[in-house]
Subunit: 410 residues, 2 copies
């Protein structure tokens, strides 16, 4: 099956956002063996969208649109696609009712537009936003219309559109995702290159945000058979890469840490300087994190490091706020003050300003205090630029990985 | 001038990377008043690339390609574009010489392919990689071919292609971006709908992450004239929407708050429960935030609320951790403990678990303490679902907006 993704959104053509919806859809479809041959982006303009649709229907059996399902007058995807495929747009009363429930007092007349869908379509329920998605078939073409905001598009596609499509797929695929922190992409690829040419299971590496991931994908008649094809390859990769693997089929380092600590009944508290709350934010992104996260401190100033965490004035004077010694005392302090089992601390220079010749931007120390032992490490990154967001995210990952190794690898 | 960007790369169609080249080019072109009407992505396949080019030349005066300029047999962009426009691909001896200098011993016969360019083209020198970029005109169409890797594409486009294009731009555009928090998209559109049909300036609404934005764009012979066309419309919108506008041409609420507090010499500290560090993370995302952010606390547990912030045991027992009263005492406490001028507190149920009939998921209170006055508000969202990430992000925005109103609107 060949697919074309049409993304409708002036904000993409203006360069305000990247087309991450198309990336997410492509990734999932490629795992399912659907060939995505084209992405097209056009603006909130019915004329140009019509042109795109008439080109796409000649070359694709599956057309997936993203965007333009909202309540405003810019949102014209349904109207345009219905016209192209000779479908009427009719009110779905169930959807009107659901909209009224969701919106309550804030319902305006143009919200009602969202309850109009192509006649005879399958509604793909959107539990993450107001606009229902839908799918229909016409002229030998399958059309799926998804909402644009990634937080809606991703779950609606994965949980609603993929099951709809699975009826059409021959066979079943199964993928395992091996997550890696602490090894660069090229080093990982070197070690695994001999596996990369295989077709079933296939092995594909990815790098993102300072982490790496290996996807192992197999296709078979049943899910069980596909899983069984993947399993020995996953074991082989585990043997080769060892403890840089922090999990298989897990979503993130923070999920591994939160789940692991909750299982062991351990509590954690953090003291953050340059990451300014990001580490705690990532830990508490995980539902249920209140089971292990006691809380923590953002101590940007020296005064707060002294007053709240008990970092000694001498240490700050002699070694500076960005030092192994300060990280050590921050981790010790946060354990002491909060009574948590594990204390984790980060201090450094995230950039773009604040660097010196001795301590350039990117100099960051992480410390973990557990069972009375305190380990401090400089945060070695695989990139060395003055990228504040990258440095902060990498430091938080590095600290999470230290916690995993200290408390969860036993 | 109308532009279409054609990105050549199977890795984009497989979802391995997002099409950030197209985003970067679109952003720069929109600032220069070039209308990008389409993005197209196709794979490393000469047949399908030919199709894309023949569609694009009918609807665009400027075609920019990215990718497919490398030395491998997959790299077919130059061949395909030359064929489409009836140009010969010939060796540029200067480029052969430069390639030999760049590559030295690593030079392979297929690297030489990179020195072949369309006859009569303008070479756009690539100092960031081996493949030279180029531009030519044919049949009333301007074609620019750029390398694919973003670290090459960005500088080659900005420093080589943009100067080449600047000769062609007739007129200039100017845009103002009005940022709004605290009003839903459809309500905003109702109020501004009478402005949406105008062409110059044009007015376009966007919604993102619980916020709204209105873009006002005008075109004129000079930047000054374009700005002058926008100004009265911006003033009119300010008059209609009032204080839900938190800024014009600013990047985010946190930027407005950090810049504003730094200008006024005020310091801020935060106490976060359900947002778990996200508010502090957003404040410290802003470079230079150390000028006003003292730091803060993540107090997930009742014990930490009592011990670190001095929330009274009685209050927690009587009203619970998620209550106006607790938010009030958290804001008072964080001011007292840190000595910051402004204390901001958030407590609530972010979901997906933890809700009760009296306090469903999404019940969140924010408090701001400034000049001895403490204001507490329930965080009223425009969506009511159990979306943890949305609830947390919205609560942090709501608290930032309260700080703006309390301390920066004087």
């Amino acid at each position: 099956m060949n697919c074309e993704i049409i993304s409708v959104g002036t904000e993409i053509l203006l360069g305000e956002i990247a087309n991450t919806d198309a990336q997410m859809i492509s990734q999932t479809l490629s795992e399912h063996g659907v060939n995505v041959f084209f992405h097209t982006v056009c603006g909130d303009n019915p004329q140009r969208l019509s042109e795109c649709v008439s080109v796409a229907r000649k070359r694709a059996e599956l057309i997936i649109t993203t965007g333009g399902l909202g309540p405003t007058c810019d949102d014209l995807t349904k109207e345009t696609l219905c016209k192209a495929f000779g479908k009427k747009l009719i009110e779905f009363e169930d959807e009107t009712r659901k909209l009224r429930e969701k919106m309550g007092d804030r319902m305006t007349p143009n919200n009602l537009k969202q309850a109009y869908l192509p006649e005879g379509c399958t509604v793909l329920q959107n539990d993450w936003g107001t606009a229902p998605a839908c799918a229909f078939e016409a002229d030998g073409c399958t059309v799926i219309m998804l909402p644009g905001p990634p937080r809606e598009c991703t779950p609606v596609f994965r949980l609603r559109a993929v099951p709809y499509l699975e009826n059409k797929f021959g066979g079943v695929i199964s993928s395992d995702f091996i997550k890696i922190f602490g090894m660069g992409e090229s080093q990982m690829e070197d070690k695994l290159s001999f596996l990369m040419d295989a077709a079933n299971p296939s092995v594909a590496p990815y790098a993102k945000d300072g982490e790496c991931e290996v996807r192992v994908t197999a296709r078979a008649e049943t899910a069980e058979k596909a899983k069984a094809l993947c399993a020995p390859i996953v074991e082989q990769i585990k043997g080769i890469l060892g403890d840089v693997i922090y999990g298989v089929n897990v979503s993130s380092l923070e999920e591994v840490v939160v789940r692991g600590l909750c299982e062991k009944g351990l509590t954690i508290a953090a003291a953050e300087s340059c990451t300014g709350g990001l580490l705690l934010k990532r830990l508490t992104d995980i539902p249920g994190s209140s089971g292990c996260v006691s809380g923590g401190f953002v101590t940007y100033s020296n005064e707060m490091k002294e007053n709240l965490l008990g970092v000694s004035h001498d240490t700050l004077l002699k070694h500076g706020a960005v030092s192994e010694e300060t990280a050590f005392e921050m981790a010790r302090g946060v354990c002491k003050v909060t009574g948590a089992d594990i204390g984790v601390a980060i201090t450094g220079i995230a950039g773009p300003g604040g660097g010196t010749p001795e301590k350039p931007v990117g100099t960051i120390f992480c410390a973990v205090c557990y069972k009375g032992e305190i380990k401090v490490l400089p945060c070695n990154r695989f990139r060395k630029w003055s990228d504040r967001a990258y440095n902060r995210n990498y430091a938080a990952s590095f600290a999470l990985d230290m916690v995993r190794r200290a408390a969860l690898s036993e």
